[in-house]
C-alpha cells in the first residue's frame, strides 16, 4: 500500500501536465487578425500633379464635351490655354453681287452696309462664370475672287460686354486679284479682360470693275468675296471668379474597405496649387450603400469626414502650399464600403492675384502625404482547419 501511494505521488505531475482541451486545434481556429490596434502611420508620398492639361485630355475623351473643347479651347506652344474662334463676317457670291449692281457695265462702288459677326457663342458665358480673357488678338482677312484688284473701305469695330473700339488699318484697303489677304491684325490692350463678343464692319464699301462676273477666271473656282475673322485669347481667371459646386457626386468611388474594420483614418498632406483658384471644401458626405437602384440614397450619418478647409490658390511662378488634414471616422462600429460620396465645394479666384492666364501646366500636386489609421485593421482570413 505504501508503494502504491508513492507511485500515485510520482505520477500526479503527469496528470497535471496533460493536454488542455481548450487548445484543441484539430477542428481549426479563428484566424481573423486585427492589426495595428493603436495606430499605424504610412507614408503615401506624392500623387499627381493633376494638371489642367491632364483634365482636358480626360474631358476630350468624353463625347460632346470633347468636341466642344476641341472647337474652342486650344493649347499653345507655351502651354497656355487659349480660346480660338474663326468665322465669317460677310461673304457674297460674285453672281449675286452683280445682280445687286444698278449698272454692271460700268465700274462702280458697291456698299454692303454694316456687317457683323458674333464670336464664339460660349465665350459670352465666360463672363457669367467670372472667367476672363487675356492677350486677346484679332485678325481679319478678305478674299477677292476677281482677276482684278479691288479697293475697299470700312469702319471696323470690336465690341465686348464692357467696351467697343475701332480696329486699325481697314479704313482703306486693297484686295489683290484672286487672293486672300490679311486686312487687320490687332492685339487688344491688356486691360481688356472680357472677351470680344462681336465684330462689326460698318459701311463696308468695295470699288468693283465693270461686269465683275466676266473677270472671274471660271465658274468652278472661288466665287466669293469673303471677310473672315480669327479671334484668340488666353483663358484667365478673373478676380470675380466664383463657382459653387454643390452635391457633386464622385461617381467612380468604389472602395471596398468595409472588410478591414477601420475606425478612423487621418490623411495628412501638403497640397501644392498652381491654379489661381481658392478651393473651399464645405462638406463631404457618404451615402449608405443602396440595396437596389430604385432605393433612395440616404446619408450615412455615422461616417464623419472632417472636411471644412480651404485650399489657397497660386500660380506657376508662386505656387501655394496648403497643409491639409482630412479625417474620416465611424462614430460607431467601423467604416463601411464607400460606394457613393458627395461633396459640396466652391471655387473662387485667389484674392490679389488679378487676372491670371491659365496654363495646361497648372494644377494640384499632392506632396508629402501620409495616412494614419487608428483602431486597427481587420484582415479577414479563411479560418484554418
Amino acid at each position: 500500500m505504501k508503494h502504491f501511494r508513492f507511485c500515485l505521488l510520482l505520477f500526479l505531475p503527469l496528470a497535471l501536465a496533460c493536454s488542455r482541451k481548450a487548445y484543441d486545434v484539430s477542428d481549426g481556429f479563428n484566424t481573423d487578425l486585427t492589426l495595428f490596434e493603436n495606430e499605424i502611420s504610412v507614408p503615401v508620398g506624392s500623387v499627381g500633379p493633376f494638371t489642367l492639361g491632364l483634365i482636358m485630355d480626360k474631358l476630350s475623351q468624353i463625347e460632346g464635351i470633347g468636341s466642344l473643347l476641341a472647337d474652342y479651347l486650344k493649347t499653345g506652344k507655351d502651354d497656355a490655354l487659349y480660346l480660338e474662334d474663326t468665322g465669317n463676317i460677310f461673304s457674297i457670291n460674285v453672281y449675286e453681287l452683280e445682280k445687286q449692281l444698278p449698272d454692271a457695265d460700268t465700274a462702280t462702288s458697291w456698299n454692303a452696309g454694316n456687317r457683323s459677326a458674333y464670336i464664339g457663342g460660349i465665350f459670352s458665358l465666360l463672363g457669367f462664370l467670372g472667367l476672363k480673357v487675356a492677350n486677346q488678338h484679332l485678325e481679319i482677312t478678305a478674299s477677292n475672287p476677281l482677276r482684278a484688284s479691288v479697293q475697299g473701305s470700312c469702319s471696323p469695330t470690336y465690341i465686348s460686354q464692357d467696351y467697343s473700339a475701332p480696329i486699325d488699318g481697314m479704313d482703306n484697303f486693297s484686295l489683290p486679284k484672286r487672293n486672300t489677304v490679311e486686312l487687320a491684325s490687332q492685339t487688344l490692350p491688356d486691360h481688356l479682360s472680357s472677351p470680344v463678343m462681336s465684330l462689326e464692319l460698318a459701311n463696308l464699301t468695295l470699288s468693283l470693275p465693270a461686269n465683275p462676273v466676266s473677270t472671274i477666271y471660271d465658274n468652278t473656282g472661288n466665287l466669293l468675296f469673303s471677310f473672315d475673322y480669327k479671334y484668340t485669347a488666353s483663358l484667365a481667371i478673373g478676380e470675380e471668379f466664383t463657382l459653387p459646386l454643390e452635391d457633386i457626386s464622385l461617381g467612380d468611388v468604389n472602395l471596398a474597405i468595409g472588410q478591414f474594420g477601420l475606425k478612423q483614418c487621418q490623411l495628412s498632406l501638403e497640397l501644392e496649387n498652381t491654379l489661381p483658384l481658392q478651393v473651399k471644401i464645405n462638406d463631404i458626405v457618404v451615402y449608405q450603400p443602396k440595396a437596389s437602384e430604385n432605393e433612395e440614397a440616404v446619408v450615412d450619418e455615422n461616417i464623419v469626414i472632417a472636411s471644412d478647409f480651404t485650399i489657397a490658390g497660386g500660380s506657376l511662378e508662386h505656387p501655394s502650399t496648403t497643409q491639409l488634414n482630412v479625417g474620416i471616422e465611424a462614430l460607431e462600429g467601423t467604416i463601411p464600403d464607400l460606394r457613393e460620396v458627395h461633396l459640396n465645394l466652391s471655387l473662387a479666384a485667389q484674392p490679389d492675384l488679378g487676372v491670371v492666364a491659365l496654363s495646361t501646366k497648372q494644377g494640384l500636386y499632392v506632396k508629402n502625404a501620409s495616412a494614419k489609421l487608428s483602431g486597427g485593421i481587420t484582415i479577414p482570413i479563411k479560418n484554418a482547419e
Binding site: F6, L9, L10, F11, P13, L16, A17, C18, S19, R20, K21, A22, Y23, D24, V25, S26, F29, N30, T31, D32, L33, T34, L35, F36, E37, N38, E39, I40, S41, V42, P43, V44, G45, S46, V47, G48, P49, F50, L54, K58, G261, S268, N368, A369, S370, A371, K372, L373, G376, T378
Partner: protein, 447 residues
C-alpha cells in the same frame, strides 16, 4: 542516396536535442553513465553502453502565447478580442526554442584501483530559432513608437561527433575529482543571424537598415555562389563525403565530496569548450531600404490599379538587401553550451535506501541561458532498482521529473523524463507554456 542521407539527417535534427545534463544521474545508484553529469562520479565496476538517447526541448514561450480560447473557439493573439497587454505580456523580449539530442553510440568504463576510466563516442545535434517580441508589437499595436530594433532574429543548427575520455580518482574516502576531455568533430552547422534590423516606421518614412550573416558548414552539401557572387538556394550535394567540417575541444570537470556519512555533495562544469568551424559557405547581406511613399503617382496608375507596382519596386529593393553576398574563407569559433551543476544528496540514516536531495543547474547558451533548482526524492532499495522523483522551479516556471533504473541480470535499463506543468495542445506534444522537457533512455551492460 546522398539526398536520402540529407533528408534523414534533417528529420533527425527535426526531433532532436540536448544541452542540459541528466541531473537525476546523481541520485540513481545503478546508473552507470553518471560521469556525464559529474566526471568525478565513479562506478564500482566496468560497464558497456550502446545507444543511450537524450532528447531535450526548451522554449521560453509556448503555444498559449499565440492561441487564446474565447468562448467555444480558439483565436490568435492578433484577434481583436485579445488585448495587447495580454498578448504581448505572454511574449519575452527575445523568444526562442531549442531542441537538442545526444545519442551515445558507445560508452565503456573500467576501474583501475582508485581510478575510473571512461571512453565514449557519441553524436550530438541541436537546432534553435529565436525572434524578437518587437515583430508582434508592431503587428498588434502599430507604429506608435516609430523606431524598432528587430535584430536578434536567428536560426541555427549544429551537429557534431563527440569522442571523450574520462578519468576520475578518489583522493580520499571523502573526496573524488574527475575530468573528461572531449574531441569534437563538426559535421555540419547552419546559422542565420539577423544581426541588425533597425526599422523606422514614421508617417514620413519607412526605413529598414539590415545586416545579416549566414554560415553554413557541411560535409554533405554546399552552395555554389552565383556568377555575381551571391548565395542562392542552389543547394547541391558534394561529390564525396568529406570530414570534418569543424573541430574542437571541450572538458568536463567535477568534484564529489562526502563530508559526513550519508551526505554527498557534487559540483561539476560540463562542456566547457568550443568548435572551430571551417570548410563552409558563408554570406553577408546588408543594406538600407527606404520608402518615403509613392513617387508622383499618376492618375493613370490609380485608375489602372497600378498603385501596387511602386510597392512592388520597394519590396524588390528590400529583398535585394537580404541577398547574401558570398564571403570567402570565413571561420568561426563557437562555444558549445556549458552546464554548471550542483547537487546534494542525503541518505536517511534510518533507511539508507531513501535519500533526499537538491540540484541546481545553470546552462550557458548564447541568448538562451537557463537555470533551475529541484528538490529530489530518491529510492534505491535494491541493486536492481532505483527510482527518483523531483520537482522544482526554473527560469520557465515549475518543473517536475521522474527516473527509473532497473536491472535484469547484468543489463540495466534507465529511463528519465522531465517536464513542466503547462500542458500541451491535444493530440500533439506542442507545449502551451514556456517549458523545459527532457527524455533520457538507455541500456548498459555491467562487465
Amino acid at each position: 542516396m546522398k539526398k536520402t542521407i540529407i533528408l534523414l539527417t534533417a528529420l533527425l535534427l527535426a526531433v532532436s536535442a540536448r544541452s542540459q545534463s541528466f541531473q537525476q544521474a546523481f541520485f540513481l545508484d545503478g546508473y552507470r553513465l553518471g560521469y556525464r553529469y559529474n566526471p568525478a562520479l565513479q562506478n564500482q565496476d566496468g560497464f558497456l553502453s550502446v545507444g543511450q538517447w537524450e532528447n531535450q526541448n526548451r522554449n521560453n514561450f509556448g503555444a498559449a502565447s499565440f492561441l487564446y480560447p474565447r468562448g467555444d473557439e480558439l483565436v490568435t493573439g492578433l484577434h481583436s478580442s485579445v488585448s495587447a497587454q495580454e498578448f504581448l505580456g505572454n511574449l519575452k523580449d527575445d523568444n526562442y526554442f531549442n531542441n537538442s539530442i545526444s545519442f551515445n553510440l558507445v560508452s565503456y568504463g573500467w576501474r583501475k584501483e582508485k581510478a575510473y576510466h571512461t571512453l565514449e563516442a557519441g553524436f550530438r545535434a541541436s537546432y534553435s530559432a529565436s525572434f524578437p517580441k518587437e515583430i508582434f508589437t508592431i503587428l498588434k499595436l502599430g507604429t506608435g513608437e516609430s523606431h524598432y530594433d528587430l535584430g536578434g532574429l536567428s536560426l541555427g543548427e549544429k551537429a557534431f561527433v563527440e569522442l571523450a575520455y574520462g578519468y576520475s580518482r578518489k583522493l580520499s574516502d571523502y573526496i573524488s575529482v574527475g575530468a573528461r576531455a572531449k574531441l569534437l568533430v563538426g559535421l555540419e552547422a547552419l546559422s542565420y543571424r539577423l544581426t541588425r534590423l533597425d526599422l523606422t516606421l514614421s508617417e514620413s518614412i519607412y526605413e529598414a537598415r539590415l545586416e545579416a550573416d549566414l554560415d553554413l558548414t557541411s560535409s554533405l552539401y554546399k552552395i555554389t555562389p552565383t556568377k555575381d557572387g551571391y548565395l542562392g538556394l542552389n543547394l547541391s550535394s558534394k561529390d564525396r563525403w568529406r570530414l570534418p567540417s569543424g573541430g574542437g575541444l571541450a572538458v568536463d570537470l567535477g568534484v564529489v565530496a562526502t563530508p559526513v556519512e550519508g551526505l554527498t555533495l557534487s559540483a561539476s562544469i560540463v562542456d566547457l569548450g568550443g568548435i572551430f568551424w571551417y570548410y563552409g559557405n558563408a554570406g553577408k547581406s546588408q543594406g538600407t531600404t527606404t520608402f518615403t511613399g509613392m513617387d508622383n503617382l499618376s492618375m493613370e496608375e490609380i485608375q489602372e490599379g497600378k498603385i501596387g507596382n511602386q510597392f512592388q519596386d520597394e519590396l524588390d529593393a528590400l529583398l535585394a538587401s537580404l541577398k547574401l553576398k558570398s564571403v570567402n574563407n570565413r571561420t568561426l569559433l563557437e562555444a558549445i553550451p556549458f552546464n554548471v551543476n550542483l547537487a546534494a544528496k542525503y541518505q536517511l540514516p534510518f533507511y539508507r535506501a531513501l535519500a533526499l536531495g537538491a540540484t541546481g543547474n545553470y546552462v550557458s547558451m548564447k541568448g538562451m541561458n537557463y537555470w533551475e533548482a529541484r528538490g529530489v526524492l530518491a529510492w534505491n532499495p535494491w541493486n536492481w532498482l532505483g527510482v527518483t522523483a523531483n520537482a522544482g522551479s526554473g527560469e520557465h516556471g515549475a518543473v517536475w521529473g521522474a527516473a527509473l533504473n532497473v536491472a535484469f541480470k547484468k543489463f540495466r535499463l534507465t529511463a528519465a523524463y522531465c517536464d513542466g506543468f503547462g500542458g500541451t495542445i491535444p493530440y500533439t506534444s506542442t507545449p502551451l507554456k514556456a517549458n523545459n522537457k527532457m527524455l533520457t533512455i538507455g541500456l548498459t551492460y555491467d562487465l
